[in-house]
Structure formats: structure tokens, C-alpha cells
Amino acid sequence: MLFVKTERRPQDDLVVRGARVVDPVEGLDAVCDVRVDGGTVAQLGTSLEANGHRVVQGAGLVLAPAFVDPHVHLRVPGREDEETIASGTAAAAAGGYCAILAMPNTDPVVDSAAVLGSLIDDAQADAEVQVGFLAAITRGQEGGELTEMAELADHGAAGFSDDGRPVVAPGLMRRALQYHGITGRRLALHCEEPTLSSRGQMHEGAVSAELGFAGYPSIAESVMVERDLALAAFEDEPLHLLHLSARESVEALQAAQAKGVAATAEVTPHHLCLTDEAVRTLDPNLKMNPPLRSAEDRVALVDGLRDGTIAAVATDHAPHARHEKEVPFEAAPFGVTGLETAFAALYKGLVEPGLIPLETLLERMSAGPARLYGLERPRIAVGAPANLVLLDTAATWRVEEDGFRSRSANSWALGQTLQGRVRMTVAAGRVAFDG
């Protein structure tokens, strides 16, 4: 389900010395050395022999399982000017990610084995970190008829999503859930009731009322979340909720989980760090779907991430060409980039102020998202493939337009000073980023 550049270059030999090694799932939190032999974690201990390996000084840094992003738009095929597999995975590596999942809302849509197969070929030629591809739930993501999900799963689809659009018809959504029993690959749902979101530009509330933007109310998301959870309960099938934004959605998820529905969810760094107040700047890099919501919604999202109701952080990295965002807010497309700023934004926004412990954030950015799609969890344990990130949590840095490895710079954090820097990423046994 995950694909990476097949290289003749041998996997790396490393010794990381003296870092604080944290793997929350393994119960590991100790200052020690970690040796990687041929791309596999070989030994943890103190004063390990270098044995001719490259030595990385880790004193004062945190070494953790590398991150997994379950929600990225790589824009291929169709918009290679905005992102490619090479640039998107390089950006992921720079953000500390060893694996990412790409959404199928491309041009053409990933709704056939042929399109999926060509993407897998491209990933095996170009991907700097492991990539999985979700396929569409409905043909052309038009909400009319199901894709050939069993065949797509056989060809390596990591899951299914019409992300960018909801599956509007409840009958069709029910069929997709029933079919999940055949494919076993997670359905990932963009929850939006289109007659309620109706051309909305931002969260409906006091800020939209004052600015005059058409409102996209919380209920447009939560009413669909509740419908999908009800269908999942009825069919007794699991599902995954993409990019939650509203307090009511978190509450509905919590209630469904308590009743035993196998529902999971993700949340983005921007929904965790910002509220609709930020839209007062009219900056098109603050326009995304779902929109930034109120302070109360933000609190519910942070609480949900902390207590595990929300299992994963997902960037919803959505590159857009510069000229498409240099327009008035209403004319701009939805979406912002996030791969290269996620950890630093969340460290500054959640860990530094004491809202979430570092260990929790590390789990929600790595093991949590891996679990959603049944991927192998990055871990720091002898014998595990080396998927590691070395973090400098004290470093502050300014987000600059020319500092991105992504082909696009439509970051909501542009011009801001963040805290926490990725120093090195090891993905599938190879050094993928070396800052």
C-alpha cells in the first residue's frame, strides 16, 4: 500500500548520539544512542560504537518515530505546476514525515486501476518518502456510482475518499459502507452538506456577519458527520472522518465511539492553531474547506486530540499556484499547504503553551495516523525499519516563501515565527532530509 523510490543506493548506517529518544507507544523516553544498520534500528544504548557509521550529534534534540500524514494533495496527475510526487515527498521529508497518503481528487480522478497504477509507477521512480494513494469512492468523484473498489484495493489503493466533496446521497454512502466489507480499506469522508455550506466562504458567525462573507456554518459539517456515523452504526462498518472542524462534530464522534462505532477522525494544524478571527486579514491563505471556526470549536478540537477522540493530525496539504491565491478572498481556491510547518506550528501552538504534552503530539502525528489505515507504525525498537525524525524543539524560525521544498507556498504560516525544527528525517531506512 506504500510506495517509495526504488534505489540501488544501500540503506543508511547511522549512530544518533545523545538525543532524548521518545517513542510514546513503546513507552520509551530516555537519553541514549540509537544505531541504524542497513536501514534497520539495530541497537539502543549508551556510548554505542560508531563502527564506521555516520555519527549524528543528537544532544539537546528529540529523536522520535517519523511522522505519517494521512491527508496530502500531491496534485498529480493534472497540476504538476503546483506539486509533484518528487516535490511533495521532499516537502514531507522536510516536515519530518516518513509516509504520506495522497488524495484522489486529481485530474483525472484516481478512480481506475490504470490511473492508480501510473501513480504507483511514478512513486517508485520519484518518491522521497513512502506514499500511499487513496482512490475515489465514486466515479469522477461525482457522487453517482461506486468505483470498482475491490479491483482498486487489489492494485494497492490505501483507502477510499471523495475528499473535496461529500458523498451526498445517503443511499450511495450506505452501499460504499457495505462494500467496505469486501475491500477492507478505510472509507475517508469529507463531511459537508452542500445546501447548508452553499457557496460559503468562511465559518458562519460574528466574523462572517461583520465582513459580509457568505457563511459556511458548523452544522453543514456536523449534520453530515451524524448521518455518516448513523450509517456506519447501522452497517456495523468502520469509517474515517477527514479534517474535523466543528465542536458538534467532535461531540457526535465521541457519542458514536462510546456506542462502539468504529469511527476515527483527524484534525489539521490550522484548525488546531487558528480561529475565524484570523480571516479578518482577508488573506486567501486562510481560506480552506472546512473553514477556520470559532474559539469554542478550536477548544473542542484540541481537547479531542488530547483525549484521543481524534486519533491523528493531518495536514490537508493543498498546494495552489501563486497567481490563484493572489486574488480577493472569494475568488481564491480553498486550501493551504502544511507539510513543512505542521510540527513547528503545533509545537508552538499546543505544546509550548501546555495544551498538549509533546508525547501526545508525537503519537498523534505518527502511530495514530498509521493505525487509521492499517499501516505499519513507525517505531524505535530493535529490528524495526528506521523511520526516524530528529527534532530541535528549542529552535525558532520564520516561515519564508522561498524556504519551501513544496512547489507551492500558500502556507497559512507565511511570515510567522514558529518553534520546533526538523533536523533530520529517516524514511524507510534512508536519510530523506538532512537539515
Binding site: V207, T281, P328
Partner: protein
Amino acid sequence: MGDIHVMREGFLPPKPPPRRHLISIGDLTRDDVERLLATARSFSRSLEREVKKLPTLRGYTVVNVFYESSTRTSSSFELAAKRLSADTMSIKAAGSSVDKGESLKDTALTLGAYDPDVIVIRHPQIGAPQLVARYTGAHVVNAGDGKHQHPTQALLDLYTIREQVGPIDGLHVAIVGDVLHSRVARSNIQALTLMGASVTLVGPPPLLPRGIEAMGCTLSHDIGAIASADVVYVLRMQQERMQEGANYVPSLREYTARWGVTPDRLRPGQKVMHPGPMNRGVEIDPRVADAADALIETQVRAGLVVRMAVLYDLLTTGPASVKTPEPLEVA
């Protein structure tokens, strides 16, 4: 949870460098408004003279760019600039490069290359004036951006009320109709509350946006709420909004029956205002529009002197004005 507000501020984008524009009433202080209204008043006296043209802004260039149709606003900005002896140029979207798909950024860069002192812009999208301000060195005046702001309309309304009704502090103004789609309403709520008036919004629930009471006004769905107002401000019922099953109101007929401003819903002496263009017989009864208490033509006249004051203020009073101002020659 920690203090959410502290966190949020930590992520706000950096503020742009200060330059004087008129983009939103929200950018003005009460002193700014007082100064603008006083300037407008002195210009109104100068217009009573036989020769109405003042040399005050000679040598300055004012460019009007209108991406939406307009009679009142575009003509009064053009005349205001001419009365002050500025050079003016008016561009309409139809027939310009906009028809060829030119982006607003490129249009702004093109106009900016002529070094205009002021760009007056009307655009159907919120934030267009900020975008023009970012890509040109000119002072930018917002002549209406989408449903966001129409600051010179609010200023001319304040001017009209002060001249015709009296001090604004303590007045009660009812704004009736389609607040949801109205930039005039948003600017006026800010302007009136800034100057100490109390504002009640009256209309059907779908046309009073959720959360708008945070701007400091009260809401009523009952047209009877206008009875206690000193001024009844009637908004245009935008017929284009009522098409294709939008269902903001079931029909204009039902709207008029419930929320139309008619003589029997007013008490004698209540002043009635409307930003125009009016839909007679829809939001406003023709007898109300033509009555002595209607200030609608006065508003149009006020538009000229207020826009003169705005141009004058931007070019001569600001801390970052583009050129050294000529001496004040207002009568």
C-alpha cells in the same frame, strides 16, 4: 485549556505597513469622522459660490475603477475630484482588459505604473481594495467591495443625519431589510455605533446574518420595531438575490407585506433614508419615498461634499501622504 486568545494572536499574520487608505469604517476613529464631516461641511459652503471649482488638489490624479455598475457613487467621486481640480480618469470593467481576463493584481500594477495619487475602486469581491493597496503606491478609497464595506456611503449618511436631524450621539436608527447582502448596512452599523447612535436591524430572519449582533446592534423580526426610531434606514431589496430558489424570503410580495416601509408604519416626523437605487413598491412605499421626511435626495447631495472631504483628507492630512499638500483653500 490555556488562554485561547493569547494563542490566536500568536498566529496572526504580520500587519501591513501603515499607509492612509479609506477601506473600512472600522479603520476610523471618532475624531477621524468628526474631521471628515467638518471638512465636508466647509466644502458645502464653497459649493454655494458661483464658481464651484476649488484649486485645492490641482496636480493630483484620481483614478476611478468600477467593476460593478454604479450611478451615484461613480459620478459623485468623479465630480468631487473635478470640483477640487484633480485630474480624473474613470475605468469601467466592461470594455477594459478585465474583459480579456486580466487579474485584479495586473490591473492594479498597470494603473499603479501611472503613479496615481488616489485609486477609487468598486469591486464585487471583498478585499479587492486591500489587494489594490498592496500592489500600488496610491491611496485607496473603497467605493464598495462585495458585501463588506461602503465607507463613503456611511459617511454621507452620517453627514445627512447630522445636518437634517441633529447630533448623532443618542439617536436611534432602525435599518430595515436585506442586511445579509448589504455593505451599506455593515458600514452604517459601524459608523452609527462609533458616533454613539443605537442601531436596530429589522427584517426576516434569513436576511439578518447570524452573529451580527456582535457589531453592537439589536435585532428584530417585527417591522413594528421601527416605531421608536428617529431615523428609518431602508435597504434595497436586491431582486437578483431572490431568484432561483434562494428562499431568503418566499416572495417579494410577502416581503413587502411584512417588512415594506409604508406610511402607516411610520409616525410623523420620522426621517426615512435609502442608499438607492430604490425598488419603489417593494422595500419602500412610493408615498414614503416622496414625502417631506424622506432624506434620499439630500443623501445624494451629501455624497458629493463627503467624497470631496475624503479625497482632500487623504491627500492633505495624512501622516503618509504622497505629496506635499498645497495650502488649504477651503472657504
